[in-house]
């Protein structure tokens, strides 16, 4: 029922990438997920692979060199990402940062949660899918 969706996660923290991928896999096998280790790497990837248009981008705020906010500004300028929903995420949410990223065109701010179930629920809602866990049907 769901056509295949593409998501891209940009995070310098390999543990967080892994947790994120784990959560995505658990809620749907139909969502492909690619990773980039920092903003520069993501931009090089997107610029060199013109046919690649992710539906969702999850962008860490604090990264070495180019941080998430600088990266967001560049991504928003890319014509073919016009339909792409970009979410920023980080360990803590500072209200001024949340305000700034929304003004820059990000969909929302996600706090990296302690419990993976919280992240899974959040992602399911974003992807608009229903998934099953512990025998319960979760609806978005």
């Amino acid at each position: 029922m769901n056509e295949s969706k593409h998501s891209l996660i940009i995070d310098d923290d390999l543990d967080d990438q892994e947790i994120f991928l784990m959560c995505v896999k658990k809620i749907s096998a139909d969502i492909s997920c690619r990773t980039a280790n920092n903003g520069e790497e993501a931009i090089i990837m997107l610029e060199s692979q013109k046919e690649y248009v992710p539906d969702y981008i999850f962008l860490d705020v604090n990264m070495p060199k180019m941080n998430g906010i600088e990266c967001l500004k560049i991504l928003k300028k890319m014509e073919r990402l016009k339909e792409t929903k970009i979410f920023m995420y980080s360990t803590t949410a500072e209200s001024s940062v949340v305000k700034q990223i929304k003004a820059l065109g990000a969909e929302d701010f996600i706090i990296k949660p302690v419990e993976t179930i919280v992240l899974r629920e959040k992602l399911a809602k974003i992807f608009g899918i229903t998934w099953v866990t512990n025998g319960q049907v979760n609806k978005s």
Binding site: D15, D16, I19, P64, K65, S90, T92, E115, T116
Partner: protein, 516 residues
């Protein structure tokens, strides 16, 4: 001896009348004396002023009215001599009445001549000006006291200016505050207390104009003393007017408020510093909580995942390892944060830190090399070091500084690390991007040059910020505090730190520390 008939003889009617007039005058003592000064005639006024009757006084010498001190200098004879010579003599002074009391007499002695122009006697007219004298004395004393008061006021410079700003009077306060003595400055224009810039802007003239039109002018500003030093003066110039309303000059009262001004400025700079510290603290609290939460969150997440997958042995093993790594990282962060905050607390090393003294940097290098012995061996690193100077500072902090810089060079290297430490003496103006707060003078430039991975020069500021890292955590270990610590240490020592680098071509950290 009896010459009375010579003078009074040959009366005519008019003369008789004239004599009566003189005799009856009450406000002036009019006395006729012979050429020796013996009293021959005496009017009512004389009796009233000097209390003697005619009978008592006629035949006596007029020196009877004079005080012993005047007699000692032979004043009566001198007055007679002068009148003989010039026709008349005048004098004012204290005289004695019959009862011994005194009066202030104003006298005129006039010589009388016969037809052959020979002196035949003298008239002496005396007026009692005691009341006037007392009033005048009172006024004079009061004026004198007033002038003394102004002259001796120490804390205010009180200056009298002419209508065009020439200094006419000068008190001790003015001398204290401005350093000039009265005779150095009277006759000069008051412009000389103003700075060159104020003079260029015609401030002295515009203040006089303001006082001229509004009655007074007030101002605060830096003024010049005689020795060229400056003081913060607050001044009031008031226009002075004569009875007809004509401007006759200005009074200028100046107070030296330098100490207050300096205290005010200190307060302002303390406040500004406090504000900076506050915002630094806020920033610190934010990044600290963020960076501490990150490993903490991971520990919790890993624990949850282990619990969910406890039957999967491989998974549990792998995630325990991750959990342990995060815990170690958390502990490392807490430790270096503690180090950093201790450093901030001991900011004023001059005041608090008992560990401040002469530090031989060669000893520091030896200690740091010892600390990194294993790593140096493992990486086959070479540390070349010139003979370094001895500087004033905190041995502990300088040890941390050297340790952090050398460990960075060892860490951010993919080949055999070569680290070169050299030094030079430079002037402040030779320091690139020197912060404006840096004092003038000479600095030790201590350079740490490596052949490591380097970085793009555009990150030269960012790398000194707290928790800013240029590399993913998986590539190079570290907390992102090391270089912030270095910056803080250098700032604690009233110095600065710069870095030159390009990607793949090593980095050179230049530490500048005051050389005196």
């Amino acid at each position: 001896m009896n010459e009375k008939p010579v003078i009074l003889g040959d009366f005519k009617n008019t003369n008789d009348l004239y004599s009566r007039m003189v005799a009856e005058i009450q406000d002036y003592a009019i006395i006729l004396m012979d050429k020796e000064g013996i009293i021959r005639n005496w009017n009512k006024g004389a009796q009233k002023i000097k209390q003697y009757t005619s009978d008592e006084i006629i035949g006596k010498h007029f020196s009877i009215f004079y005080l012993p001190e005047d007699l000692a200098v032979n004043m009566p004879q001198q007055l007679i001599n002068e009148a003989s010579l010039n026709g008349r003599s005048t004098q004012e002074g204290w005289r004695k009445r019959k009862d011994g009391s005194r009066f202030w007499g104003s006298i005129t002695i006039t010589a009388l001549h016969d037809d052959d122009n020979c002196i035949i006697g003298f008239s002496k007219v005396t007026r009692d000006l005691t009341a006037k004298k007392i009033d005048e004395d009172k006024l004079r004393i009061s004026e004198e006291r007033y002038h003394r008061m102004i002259a001796e006021v120490q804390d205010y410079a009180i200056i009298l200016l002419s209508p065009n700003g020439i200094i006419e009077n000068w008190n001790i306060g003015a001398q204290n505050i401005k350093g000039y003595s009265a005779n150095e400055v009277i006759g000069k224009r008051f412009d000389l207390f103003y700075t060159e810039e104020d003079r260029k802007n015609k401030l002295p003239d515009s203040l006089l104009d303001e006082a001229r039109y509004k009655g007074k002018a007030t101002q605060e500003g830096w003024r010049l003393r005689k020795n060229g030093s400056k003081f913060w003066g607050t001044i009031v110039i008031t226009a002075l007017h004569g009875k007809d309303g004509q401007l006759i000059g200005f009074s200028k009262v100046t107070r030296d408020l330098t100490e207050k001004k300096i205290a005010d400025e200190k307060l302002l700079s303390y406040t500004a510093e406090l504000e900076i510290q506050n915002s630094e603290l806020e920033q610190f609290a934010y990044v600290a909580s963020h960076d501490l939460q990150e490993p903490l969150r991971k520990i919790q997440t890993f624990a949850e995942l282990i619990q969910e997958n406890y039957t999967d042995e491989a998974f549990v093993k792998s995630y325990f390892k991750k959990l342990d790594k995060s815990a170690k990282r958390l502990s490392e962060l807490v430790k270096s944060l503690l180090e950093y905050s201790r450093l901030s607390k001991d900011k004023n090393i001059d005041e608090y830190n008992s560990g401040v003294g002469e530090v031989d940097l060669n000893n520091i290098i030896t200690e740091v090399k010892l600390d990194f012995e294993l790593l140096i061996e493992e990486k086959d690193a070479i540390i070349k070091c010139a003979h370094l100077p001895t500087i004033t500072g905190s041995a502990i902090q300088l040890g941390q500084l050297f340790s952090n810089l050398i460990s960075n060079s060892l860490k951010f290297s993919n080949t055999k690390p070569i680290i070169e430490i050299s030094w030079a003496i430079v002037n402040k103006n030779q320091i690139p991007n020197a912060p404006s707060a840096l004092s003038e003078g000479k600095y030790f430039q201590i350079s740490f040059e490596d052949n490591g991975i380097g970085f793009e020069q555009k990150y030269d500021k960012k790398i000194f910020s707290l928790f800013q890292r240029l590399h993913g955590k998986q590539d190079y270990a570290g907390t992102g505090i090391g270089l912030s610590l270095c910056k803080k240490i250098v700032e604690n020592h009233a110095g600065t730190i710069n870095v030159l680098s390009s990607l793949g071509h090593g980095a050179t950290f230049d530490v500048y520390l005051p050389s005196n």
